[in-house]
Symmetry: C3
Subunit: 313 residues, 3 copies
């Protein structure tokens, strides 16, 4: 896993750990440029003649859609391989063989895989850039980057923030990626709010603290609701808890319209989607809500910028 160090060309994107503040600035500047251009109806041909393989071992219409859209908005072509049944895995093929096959046809691979670490294995096997589109409980760097981009765009800063991250933090790869990213900026406080049996993993907490962020925990959203700048919601998976425990605590991890209205005026409500009840629908029209429109749309621009930077000098 190579650090970006100002040069994205031909590098795989496996983890947010590869990015310095300067790298993020380069990426965000280009993403903002694409956002402005697309909004004004511009047509880009930066990746004309290039091909993206979207190699998705798990179904994920959102993320594959974002990558496919991003590639074609830059004039590139696509090889969509969606869902494990569609791959040679059914014939017992090994991951590195599959990577060798698809790098023969394409210039970049975006991989989604159910196992943590798969993206790094893929990146090592490849001579073309591989982008991690989520690997099990590991990382989801493009999601973390689009989240940070949205925060910067709306709050005009990435420092001096109080950010609450809510849900099954043990398994939540988007929570891992975003926490690590935010922690590299000064004066940020992270509140981790999760059921007791799925706290943020120690290795993530260590990195975040080492980077300089203040880490706190809270038992419910209510505890921090009125002081935070960003409320980052993720799913709480019922099936991972005893029925009884779930019923007792579920309200601690659900955001309602009434709660949303009690938040600070200049605060943001975010969610990587899909949601399954942890944000009630009466929150959707709240101006703080970023999850339905802003995050998703920014995701495409971040991916456009990344694809462009790894594929061309």
């Amino acid at each position: 896993m190579k650090k970006i160090n100002g040069d994205f060309f031909n590098k795989s994107i496996v983890s947010v750990d590869q990015f310095s503040k300067a790298d993020i600035e380069i990426l965000f500047e280009l993403a903002a440029e694409y956002k402005k251009g697309i909004s004004n109806g511009m047509v880009f041909n930066d990746l004309n003649g290039k091909i993206l393989t979207a190699l998705f071992y798990e179904p994920s219409s959102r993320t594959i859609g974002s990558f496919l859209g991003a590639m074609q908005r830059l004039g590139g072509g696509i090889i969509p391989i969606h869902g494990i049944l569609n791959t040679s895995v059914v014939k017992g093929e090994i991951l590195t063989d599959t990577i060798n096959i698809f790098q023969s046809y394409s210039d970049v691979i975006a991989i989604r895989h159910p196992e943590a670490g798969a993206a790094e294995i893929a990146a090592k096997a490849a001579y073309i850039p591989v982008i991690n589109a989520g690997d099990g409980t590991g990382e989801h760097p493009t999601q973390g980057l689009l989240d940070l981009f949205t925060i910067l765009e709306k709050l005009q800063r990435t420092n001096n923030l109080k950010v609450a991250i809510v849900g099954d933090l043990k398994y939540g790869r988007t929570a891992h990626s975003l926490s690590k990213l935010i922690s590299i900026y000064p004066k940020n406080t992270l509140y981790f709010i999760s059921p007791p049996q799925s706290p943020m993993p120690d290795e993530v907490v260590k990195i975040v603290k080492k980077n300089g962020a203040v880490v706190k925990t809270a038992k419910s959203i209510e505890e921090v609701l009125k002081t935070i700048d960003v409320l980052y919601m993720t799913r709480v998976q019922k099936e991972r808890m005893e029925e009884e425990v779930y019923e007792k605590m579920k309200n601690s991890f659900i955001l309602t319209g009434k709660m949303a209205r009690a938040m600070k005026k200049d605060s943001l409500i975010m969610h990587p989607l899909p949601r399954v009840g942890e944000i009630t629908m009466d929150v959707d029209s709240n101006p703080r809500a970023m999850y339905l429109k802003h995050q998703m749309r920014n995701g495409m621009f971040i991916r456009m910028a990344l694809l462009r930077l790894v594929l061309k000098k």
Copy 2:
């Protein structure tokens, strides 16, 4: 559901009810232009830089193929999401969230959904145009339009027609859309021919009559075979009838080569496909048969024209 009123730009296409005769004229003129151009090997770039999401909650290779082909023939890009397993529905995502996600990545959405009314819900949630590619037993407007286009092309008129529509009319969305479309033109007679337990729904019959068409019913194809201008066949679903009833009546709804030859010289045999036995294969070479080549191909040109009209002034 907004009427087109001469201006397709940025409007969703949910139902044939949105179209006036003048709207249909605009659409057909552009479709005919594309047909001529493509047949002459022209390359169109009208939708360069635009992206279509084809969001198919049901498998339908024909209709998704038609939309994907149409978009790319105009230089646009595609996000194919095919089959419910490939969507976040497996994680419990709600339709309006999904629409919000895909409109972030694309400029137009074509939706196929198993439930009637889904297309209208999607259209209301969207700020980009949504095209109904079939919603349950509801409507399938692009199919109705391509059928009408084929009739006009081959018979040189859309009025003064005797049209028999055959099959499970209660559930047949293509039968609904075509019936309503034909009824807005003068002096047309519609013969509805279906098993007794699945007649054309009352609300469709009402609209058709109000539009001015004469509505008749018949018990078998034979009854009207020699007088009609168009025989529009759809499937009779065996699984919706008792075995005994089915065996007795199935011949009333099956077209054979011999029957086809007894039809008027200038008449048309149509079917939205796929067929499962209701048109025997010896009909295929009959010059009246429109279903294998003409309807399908016209479908692509109608969809090209629609995509172009909703996406650009």
Copy 3:
């Protein structure tokens, strides 16, 4: 099934039997040109405005990926129909109807089907070119062609070769296609090495001999290891043998790193992939190994050349 006879335009590609040595020369020359161009970062637009339907009744990420990549590298568009669940076959549609539908939308169809002979049925039903992307135990002509192209590229000749073909030869369509192709060149010897219950089919052996190749059999790879120029490995399917028989003979059909090192210096190790254990991973870094990088990549160039030749004069 028409012979190519120097003119690919608008012809279906069903079998390697259609190719003369001169046809292969035309094809390989264009493939080499594309290979050189793509490697130098050239962007091709030869098939701008053309659409490929990839109609895959079986999941095969490799082959569909290769066709999709090839078409888009030439500026064309794609209709990917992947996996039998995604097709109207679930509604009982017949193959020829499906072909009629997709030729309405596209300019060329690549078909993968579980039944031998399906590609020829499809080709007969179509007025656009159909390319066989593997039909059951029948043929897989583009695989055979890419294998031959790789041999020529690496050994600088297609004659005077000793080629061992290993695996379940009765069912191995790639083995059939390659054997027939090699046999049309002078002074070649083919060694067929398979479990006794799945030998190379008599009809293939007859053609190969008639073409002038010398045919021999061997019981294990070891027997021929030090004399052959090409070792073409395919899968031995455990499930087709009794457990006991399999255990006894499996080593005869498995290539290890040690064996690979004992081969002639200028020899090649090939495999159509996916493999399931018949080439151990310590062979991968052997310079003779062609299967991970060279064959796959050449496959895309062969398919680019074929698509171009059948679609344009």
